[in-house]
């Protein structure tokens, strides 16, 4: 190539780079605002979510740390009402209008994680129609609008003129970058699908993978910036893969866009912060889980062979896990402020599956709820030789401490104590006696919340019974009997309010009586209780 040709080439390259840089710079120069909403409760006919609030906090952290949103331009609403969300959008709209008057280009991120039902977002006892939300976001005085909904059947928001459901994209890596203006909607599932949370990862699938992608997992181009299309493609692939075999069925995120131009918006810049974990290209390929101190997955990175990845984790200590067919590879990393830590395979060691750090001790159990109840029980022993002459019917006063969503969602662990007394007569010797019973029991039940606050449940119970009887006038020595008694329980709770419930239950227990020979007896109980949720 001649010197002149070389100069021309250099000039074209310089102009192209400048244009690209200018476009990128213009894209990065957006004044970004964010309204991030997370709500675990969705009204009495829904079950509380475990991770919606946590997902919202995670997304806010990413947007403010890596997404160019200044903290004063970000609004986090946790457990808020629909009116508060509307007010936040209006306030941000005012701030954006002010910025526009100063000649700034603006962008609005709206993120929601929580319940949605019958075409509306459910925030506690309040509702915000999806159509209204969409209209408000669309009406915001900003240049670019990005709405992200992580809720059941959220794909309904994407049904509008000009918008189309586009599950996967070919990222136009080589196309000219032109400013994007308009509205983008990302939803966690299609309009007829549920969105799912995972206890394993400690979050909803879609938000988890979206966050992992924004942290750097989705940087397919390797330029240290994660664009909107890159993030969506990554989140889509991982969400579909993780939910394919779930009980609720595969979950397909949707992406609708109504943008002028085809420019790809940069959502996060993981290279600029120079902080986090760097996976060099020679690091083994596979799925890496980066687990924080609380035992939750901060990022899940799918590293390809021969490709490097940068994950902009916040400073802290993380455990690293990579799953192999027959074992885990685990290790620890310390990410210091302003430090990019390079991953080294040699620092991992083999571990059995039982040592999975994702399920390790010290994990914070979000959503486990305690309740305390008190009530009365009526107990009657059947099939006893001598009937009530042996064990008379008795009324008991009971207290119960219960823990929900600890072992499993909608499972209740309970511990109850009861005491009571009654009287009877041993007919064979015409001896009246005073009967006393003390019981301590543990139970586990499964609940099925329904509309209007009714919650049927079924479970198993294990009781330790101590029964005594004393005879009037010391005509006979006192007697006692202690036994362990397994049984089943079933009943119905009615939640009169968010914290107060009335419970009616029945129990059926087996009782081994082995004093006068071995006899299999049983007893039934009817109980009622008032319960208070903490």
């Amino acid at each position: 190539m001649s010197a002149r040709g070389r100069s021309t080439t250099l000039l074209v390259a310089f102009v192209a780079a400048t244009l690209a840089l200018d476009a990128t710079a213009r894209a990065q120069a957006l004044h970004r605002f964010a309204v991030v909403v997370g709500n675990d409760t969705g009204g009495m006919d829904t079950r509380p979510l475990l991770y919606a609030s946590a997902d919202a906090r995670k997304v806010l952290d990413i947007l403010t740390r890596l997404g160019g949103v200044r903290s004063e331009d970000a609004t986090l609403l946790v457990g808020a009402t629909a009116a508060e969300v509307v007010a936040a959008l209006a306030k941000v709209g005012g701030q954006a209008a002010e910025a526009a008057r100063r000649g700034e280009k603006t962008a609005l991120y709206f993120y929601y994680s929580g319940h949605a039902k019958d075409g509306a977002l459910r925030m506690g006892e309040t509702q915000l129609a999806i159509g209204e939300l969409k209209a408000r976001v669309a009406a915001a005085p900003v240049d670019v609008r990005i709405a992200i909904l992580d809720s059941c059947r959220s794909g309904a928001m994407a049904r509008s003129k000009g918008a189309r459901k586009a599950p996967a994209f070919e990222i136009e890596a080589d196309g000219p970058a032109r400013e994007a203006k308009g509205m983008v909607i990302l939803t966690s599932s299609a309009s007829d699908e549920d969105s799912q949370e995972s206890d394993t990862i400690g979050g909803s699938y879609f938000s988890h993978h979206l966050a992992s992608g924004l942290l750097g997992g989705a940087d397919r181009s390797g330029d240290g910036r994660v664009t909107l299309f890159e993030a969506y493609a990554y989140a889509y692939d991982r969400t579909v893969a993780d939910t394919a075999d779930s009980a609720a069925g595969a979950q397909h995120p949707t992406f609708s866009y109504d943008l002028a131009g085809n420019g790809d918006l940069v959502l996060t810049d993981v290279a600029a912060r120079h902080e986090g974990v760097y996976f060099p290209r020679e690091a083994p390929s596979g799925v890496y889980f980066l687990v924080d101190r609380a035992g939750f997955v901060a990022a899940e990175i799918n590293k390809s062979e021969g490709v490097d990845r940068r994950v902009a984790l916040a400073p802290g200590r993380y455990r690293v896990k990579r799953r192999l067919p027959d074992r885990l590879r685990v290790g620890e990393l310390d990410v210091g402020a302003g430090r990019l830590v390079s991953f080294e395979e040699a620092r991992l060691h083999d571990a059995p599956f039982s040592d999975d750090p994702v399920k390790g001790p010290g994990r914070v159990d979000l959503g486990a709820r305690w309740s305390l109840g008190a009530g009365a029980t009526y107990q009657s022993v059947f099939a006893a030789p001598g009937g009530a002459s042996l064990f008379p019917t008795v009324g008991l006063i009971a207290v119960e401490l219960a823990l929900r969503d600890f072992l499993r969602r909608d499972w209740v662990l309970g511990v109850d104590l009861a005491a009571g007394s009654s009287s009877g007569t041993v007919t064979a010797v015409a001896a009246p006696f005073r009967f006393t019973e003390l019981s301590a029991a543990a139970s586990v039940s499964a609940e099925w919340p329904t509309r209007r606050g009714f919650v049927p449940f079924v479970g198993a119970r294990f009781a330790l019974l101590l029964m005594t009887r004393s005879f009037s006038g010391n005509s006979y020595p006192g007697q006692f009997f202690a036994t362990l008694s397994p049984g089943v329980t079933s009943g119905l709770a009615w939640h009169a309010s968010r914290r107060l419930a009335l419970v009616a239950r029945g129990r059926l227990h087996y009782l081994l009586y082995n004093v006068d020979g071995n006899r299999s007896l049983g007893y039934w109980e009817l109980a009622s209780m008032v319960s208070y949720d903490f």
Binding site: D199, G386, R408, V426, A428
Partner: protein, 313 residues
Amino acid sequence: MTSSARHPSLARAALAVALAALGVTACGNYSNDDLEFVNAVPDSQDLTSDLPARPASTPVTAESELSRATHDASRTFNFMLDVVLRVLDAVRADKPASGDGRTRVWGPRAAAEHPGWDSRFTVTRTAPKTFTYLLEFRSDADPTGSWLTMLTGMFEASTGARRGTGSLHASTHDLREAGFSFDANNNLATMDLDYATGAFPVTADMTLATFVDPSMDLVNTSSVECHYAVASTGAGALGYGWTTAMNQTLAVNARWLPSGAGMATATVASGGGAGMTQTECWDASFRATYNDKPWSPTEDLGDPSTCPAISAP
């Protein structure tokens, strides 16, 4: 929403504990059958004479002669009853150590009040409502030796706690010969007791033989018979033999009201005034209100109209 198991290792551990606990058998002494066996054993509280005590306001010297004799006889009757039945009370307080459908056995165990000896008490059901029982002792020094019987009895239950008819025979001769020690004031040789508690009047007939001096010999004894009855009203009666200071042998029949007021007749069986009958009445303070003593008319006093109207239980 997804509901994968949380804390699966904890759940497995809890299930393992529960399954292991199921293997623990129930325990206790809560038994209706045991009560029927215990019911066969007489209780001293059911048979003791309930003659009210002399009030402190009445000095001994002011008490009527026959009420004083009746008090003495009542104390002796109750004491001997307690000597024998106290052992059974101790047995009844515990759960039987073994047994089956026909038998309950308490012991063998160390006799707390008789160091060096083991006791064994056996109750056997011979018919649905009929029981026999046996109290035995054996010396620690000869653990394979024979058991020595102290008491045998039978009981036929009617209705109610320890209600029915029964009899027992107690003998201390063999035990004394084997070196079994009794309290110094316990000179019981034999006791035969027949009782009926199924309905009022509750009655107990005791034939008591005591050693003259058990430290000297186990041959010479003196015997006495007592008959005790109590009505549903609480009125009681005691019949007994009494030897006076003048060596008269009297057959006394005393009756009393729950207040203590009562009367007694004493017929001389032998000695001075043989065949004569003394009648004495007393009030609730056990002061004589009437006395007719043929062989000592100077002791006569009062009017028979002051005697309480008491029919024999």
